[in-house]
Each structure stands twice: as structure tokens, then as C-alpha cells.
Amino acid sequence: MDLTLKVWRQENRKAKGRFETYAIKNISPDSSFLEMLDVLNEQLIREGQEPVVFDHDCREGICGTCGLFINGRAHGPDEDITTCQLHMRKFKDGDTIVVEPWRAGGFPVIKDLMVDRTAFDKILQAGGFISINTGSAPDGNASLVAKEKADEAMDAAACIGCGACVATCKNSSAMLFVASKVSQLAVLPQGKTEAVRRAKAMVAKMDELGFGNCTNTGACEVECPKNVSLAHIARLNREFLAANLKP
């Protein structure tokens, strides 16, 4: 496949960025999107230019490190995948592909396509943990958790912190991320102890770091690679309201 790439280039945090256009040839439709960027970078290095900086680690959809805004969509034109799971067969020969970094005040660009997602760590540090000692793996059936509850917690825990929810949201809201991190603990007995403090602290941190206000458009849920449901946002709202009603 021969393609034209329009890629966001930005020297550093402070610099003003711009789009650069690159022509790239002979890309296999079976290669992944990131492999295509690798080929581009090799080409750039051969030409004596700076390679494009982009985040990636596992390249199998489990770490949440990768994340590009491709042709107007977070993680590109496919459903329920991370950027590293996107394949070139989703594009046509001769296509022009626009590649942008996540755009949000809470995620400043570090260089080119790489953004700083420390904000998510800060939100987690504010309350996304349990501080009671749960000991080693408990005996089976020692602490009973209903199957549905366990499933819900597991679905929420599927969040890999990629930030696609923020990137796609018209309000740059981090509600789906925060909701999943609250939900994964809120439905389990181990998470109940700090439930009140957790919801308040995490929402306060999220607001403080400049993420927008959720208006329930639902775009995050659609673009989330792990299918985290809006139902978790409803639970976060419940947890937060309940926490504020408690003295």
C-alpha cells in the first residue's frame, strides 16, 4: 500500500507544533499501524531526519501505553481496539491518514505524538487503592462475592488507562476512566471501607487537573478499547452523591 501521512510534529512541550506530510510506500496490509510508523521512522532516519516520537510498549492491547488519534478517531477506524491492535487493512491504498496526539488540557504533548498522562496516575494516587491488608489469596468461598458483582468489578478493572475516553470526549472528560477505577473497588467488600473518601478524592483530583465535565454523550464508551460501560459512570455518580450526603 502507498499512503500519505499527515503527522503532528512538535519539538517539545513548549514548542508550537505543525503537521508534516510524508509519503510512504510498500506497506503490507497485514502490518500493524505502529509497524507502519516504524517503517516511516526508519525511512526518516535514513534521510537524516528526526524520527516521529510515539508511545508504545506491549503492542498487544494490554498495557494502555499506545494511543493515537487517527483520522478523527481515538485508536483509529476499528472497534474495541488499542492503536497497537489496528491493522493497515483497515485503510485503502492511496489513503491520506491524519495522525494526531491525544488533545486535552490534562494531557500535554511531550513531543510529537507522545502525551503526558501523569494526570491519570495522580487521580489514582488520590484514592484508587485500598489500604487495608487483604492478606494472601483467600480460601475459596471465604469472602463471598456474588457472580454479577465480581463480573462488574472485572469489567471495570479491564480499563488499561489509555486515555481514549478523554481524547474522544468533546469535553475532555475523564469520567469513564475515574468511573472504572472507582467501580472496580466499589462493588467488592474490600473496597467498601474507603468508598466515601475515594469517590470524593478522585473526583476532586480529576476536576483539579483540568478535565472537563461529563455531559453523557457516550462517545467514550464507544471508543474505549476495553468496552467500559457508561453504567460505571452512573455508579460513580451514585458513589459521589452518597459520599457527599454522609457527614
Binding site: V98, K170, G218
Partner: protein, 226 residues
């Protein structure tokens, strides 16, 4: 409490509560207005209008409703401004139509349209009935019961007014398609099961309310021709 109202969810909570209040108001308003359709003599509607204008409970609810409207608008402005600032640099290309509804992305614009319509609508009827009075209200008035029916039905004989009211109903309808479920979601009153149910109930509510408000002027206009 001030902490709560400064938080993103707290502000949305207020949007949701006032929204629920407005949703209820719309339904009551439509029920009263629909009397125009069911009684050509106008007597039923006049009685209802008289009741709404004089009943002490309604007199208390009226300013509360006005405050609800104002809070809904103020908080919409605050939230929208914050949301615009949350993305200082925008995308070159962004496709949102596949992942969210048009109405959900344009609630603020739709809200402005509804607000403009509301201002016109209030000056058309409520203002005259409550403050300035109108000769049509006097015509055929029974005792202290004004002839609101005559004012309304005469007004809707102008085709451009009918079109204006249809546009108002459409804007309101789009606003409501997102508002209904969203109000529940913000209060945490939704889950995967209820989301679909609330969506359906919301759609029915929207069709009834927006459709109802559009049908009344159309009906009166057509009736005036024959």
C-alpha cells in the same frame, strides 16, 4: 455543600435536578394546553388557565420554576465554558457522529434556541395574561375569568407564528432526546438495563411533548381555515 457544588458532578447534579423539574413542568403545561384541542368553545381551557393563574400552589411553584430555569441556564454556561477550556488545542480532524448523537453534542446550542423561543413565547401569552392585559382577553370574558382561549387561537391564525412554534418544538424535542436519560444518568439512576428502558421512555416522552406542542398551533391554524 459549596465543595459539592464546585465539583463537576455537583454542578451536573444541579443541571439534572432542575432538568427534572422542567421535564415535569413541560408535561403539565402540555396537558393544560391540550384542552384547546378538546373543547372548541374554549371553556375548558379558560377554566384551566384561570386555575393556573389564581391557584395559590401554582403561585408558589411559579417563582420556583423561574429559579429552576435560571439555575439550569447559569450552570449550563459555567459547565460549557469549562468544557471548552478543557481542550486548549483542538483536533484537525474529529469524527464524533459514529460515537455520539448530534443532540448530545449540541445541547448548549439547542438550549439557546429553546431559550430564545421561550422568551418569545412568554411575551406572546404569559406576559399579556399576567401583566399587560390584552383586548382579546376581555372579549367574552366571564366574570374575572379571562378569555385566554381567544387570545391563543387568534394568535395561531398567523402562519409564520405557527412555523415559529413548530421550530421551537423541534429544538425542544432534540434537547429532550438527550436530556431525559442524561438527567437520570447524572443522578446515578441508570445501569446497563435501565439505560435502554430510559432511552425508550425518553423517546416516547419527547415525541409526546414536542409533538403535542407542535400540533396545537397547527390544529388551531387549520381549524381557522375551515
Amino acid at each position: 455543600m459549596s465543595n459539592f457544588l464546585n465539583s463537576s458532578i455537583g454542578k451536573k447534579f444541579l443541571m439534572s435536578l432542575t432538568g427534572f423539574f422542567l421535564i415535569t413542568f413541560l408535561l403539565v403545561h402540555l396537558l393544560v394546553n391540550s384542552l384547546i384541542l378538546f373543547d372548541q368553545s374554549g371553556h375548558l381551557f379558560n377554566q384551566a388557565a384561570h386555575f393556573m393563574g389564581t391557584n395559590p400552589i401554582i403561585k408558589v411553584v411559579e417563582p420556583v420554576l423561574a429559579i429552576g430555569f435560571i439555575l439550569h441556564i447559569i450552570y449550563a454556561v459555567i459547565l460549557t465554558r469549562q468544557n471548552q477550556r478543557a481542550r486548549p488545542i483542538g483536533y484537525k480532524q474529529q469524527k464524533l457522529s459514529g460515537s455520539s448523537s448530534w443532540a448530545s453534542r449540541n445541547m448548549f446550542v439547542l438550549g439557546i434556541l429553546v431559550f430564545v423561543f421561550l422568551a418569545i413565547h412568554i411575551s406572546n401569552f404569559f406576559w399579556k395574561m399576567k401583566f399587560t392585559g390584552h383586548e382579546l382577553l376581555e372579549e367574552g370574558a366571564m366574570g374575572n375569568m379571562e378569555n385566554a382561549y381567544l387570545l391563543v387561537t387568534t394568535f395561531f391564525q398567523q402562519w409564520y407564528i405557527v412555523i415559529l412554534y413548530i421550530i421551537g418544538a423541534i429544538a425542544l424535542g432534540f434537547h429532550l432526546t438527550h436530556a431525559f436519560w442524561s438527567a437520570f444518568q447524572t443522578l446515578g439512576l441508570s445501569n446497563s438495563k435501565w439505560r435502554k428502558r430510559l432511552d425508550t421512555i425518553g423517546l416516547i416522552y419527547t415525541l409526546v411533548v414536542a409533538g403535542g406542542f407542535a400540533i396545537i398551533p397547527i390544529w388551531v391554524f387549520i381549524a381557522s381555515l375551515i
